[in-house]
Chain length 353, copies 2
């Protein structure tokens, strides 16, 4: 297959026009040429934090539902999907892993466990009943199917968790934490360089305790951002882009099962939530994930920051994979042909996984 | 007079060794030469925010006390002094201006009025009795003796104040404010580019209302910093230096009359304060200025950030003058011979004004 006259967008090589030849699932050949491009070819999007979609909830999904989920988000350009659990019991988490193990779709990567090793004080919409300090026996058998664990650096036995994760090639992402700057700095020095839905469910900034926000300005953390114009103000997103540049920002949806459905009452894990005007909240009025589609996160980020398409390919694909040590997120010969073809207004024309 | 074999530190030309010839109060000639310098020659320090020193209180100072004050701080390298009032009555402020008018010392520049046009909610150690919205008749006759007015952008009639200040060549410095990001952005677009003791007595940062802290990251404000390791954590100072660089930082002391004296009970304006271990607080426990000496602010900043001497000359002298539109803060031929000679540990050997 040859994609002719496209604007090729690569996070390293930048933007140029040409033809792209695909063979056996890989980008076989790129022919640069001057032309008026018919469409925009970007690396397929990566969603490393998503709890559900179109009625499917990660905690309850059957293996075919995982596959349907991957098909749904493919329409929005997502080619690397990391379904994400919330804090739950060991039995339920084990069940998620078993079902995920049987699912088969080229977009399905590995799971992201958000909790239960987080801080009660920053539970957000996580069920406090399951939140706990770390010990190895509290973990289900991961069977190589978990890539990310969101944990708070101040919990009891955090170092043991970090050691375990490193040995298993699992990325710890700091989150749902009331930890101070010192907690985050120490974690960074242990090699942990990722923060979950920054700076939601984290200690606030103060000039005498700069906290995780200060840590992000002082150290090279990668940060997830929920750019739905609800979790973060547009000014905050603008500020992050101006101060940090695009290299360490990772767009995520944090979407939950009502995403793509109507407003109403739903469940997130076993908590009741209400979606009104697309905003999901618990009965206590706490934001409970989002109903954001990945392509809208991409459009929002572009609109807010006026970034280049090259930079957009970084925050929507390349950075997340680079941070996880996964080869991809490039439009370049020899790389997997996971891409999204868009029109000039960033509407998805076609996605290939 | 010739200063021989000194390490010349200039905020623009950088650091180099040589001899400096002074004639008629100006730097007449600089002879670059390779040598082992005996001392460090920096532009004289600028303190744009200081309420008192060695028992002298700006609100009550006689003209000879203003002169003594200038002599005292000369020992710490300060060659440009802007005595600073706190919120008070029109009569008292008028009195300060009259006394200052009669004082005569080459370090005495103009006054800084901190308040009374600020926000009650962020009064800090200012007397709320005097805090008020702006109107022209509330101002004393400034007689060309006021250079800076600290005001909150959200107060009633702020635009009128800004217009008046512009016409009078007075710099508005935003401070003691509960204003939002929008208030600060609008002020910035009106040409106001300075913030008083950032971010003390300002609205805190939040990711859905980024406030003045966000404004500083998104726009090119100059900011006063009290680097006494009390008002701001060392991590905060480190963060400011890393994110903003040295170009927009202005060291100030915010020192009060007990500075240089023992711990005990004192007055700031007409508020009672207690100094314990050098930390000044009101009876309500609010920080009430500092007992910081300028040379210690300089040493603290160097130690915290490990900045170059060139950068140190920016934050201690050049930036403040540049922001106020005053020629100076340079070690360069043709500039006024206002400088401080230091040993390698930044102890003052000699100051010239």
């Amino acid at each position: 297959m040859v994609l002719e006259k496209v604007l090729i967008v690569d996070p390293i090589d930048g933007e140029y026009t040409g033809d792209v030849e695909i063979k056996e699932g890989n980008i076989a050949k790129i022919k640069k040429k001057h032309c008026v491009p018919k469409s925009v070819l970007m690396p397929g999007f990566v969603d490393t934090h998503t709890h559900g979609y179109m009625g499917i909830d990660c905690l309850k999904a059957t293996s075919s539902e995982f596959e349907n989920w991957a098909e749904y988000v493919k329409k929005e350009g997502v080619t690397y999907l990391f379904p994400t659990t919330v804090s739950s019991s060991k039995i339920i988490l084990q069940n998620v892993i078993e079902n995920f193990l049987k699912a088969n779709h080229p977009s399905l990567m590995q799971l992201h466990l958000e909790g239960p090793f987080i801080n009660n004080e920053k539970a957000g919409a996580q069920n406090k009943e399951y939140i706990t300090s770390f010990s190895l026996e509290k973990l289900p058998n991961l069977k190589g199917k978990v890539k990310i664990i969101t944990a708070a650096p101040e919990i009891y036995n955090f170092e043991e968790l970090a050691t375990f994760a490193k040995a298993e090639n699992i990325k710890i992402s700091l989150g749902h934490s009331n930890g101070t700057y010192e907690h985050f700095r120490k974690a960074y020095e242990m090699g942990i360089d990722r923060i979950t839905h920054f700076p939601n469910a984290l200690r606030n900034f103060h000039h005498r305790e700069i906290g995780p926000i200060g840590a992000v300005f002082l150290h090279n953390f990668y940060v997830e951002l929920i750019v739905d114009n609800v979790h973060l103000s547009t000014n905050f997103v603008k500020m992050m882009y101006r101060v940090l540049g695009p290299e360490r920002l990772i767009l995520v949806t944090d979407s939950i099962s009502p995403t793509g459905l109507k407003d109403g009452r739903y469940e997130l894990g076993d908590l009741e939530i209400t979606v009104r005007d697309g905003i999901a909240k618990t009965n206590e009025g706490v934001l409970a994930g989002s109903t954001l589609r990945f392509i809208d996160a991409v459009k929002n980020f572009k609109k807010i920051t006026n970034c280049s398409l090259k930079e957009l390919s970084m925050v929507s694909s390349y950075n997340a994979l680079k941070n996880l040590g996964i080869k991809g997120g490039r439009i370049k010969e020899g790389f997997p042909a996971k891409f999204v073809l868009l029109d000039k207004d960033l509407n998805v024309i076609k996605t290939m996984v």
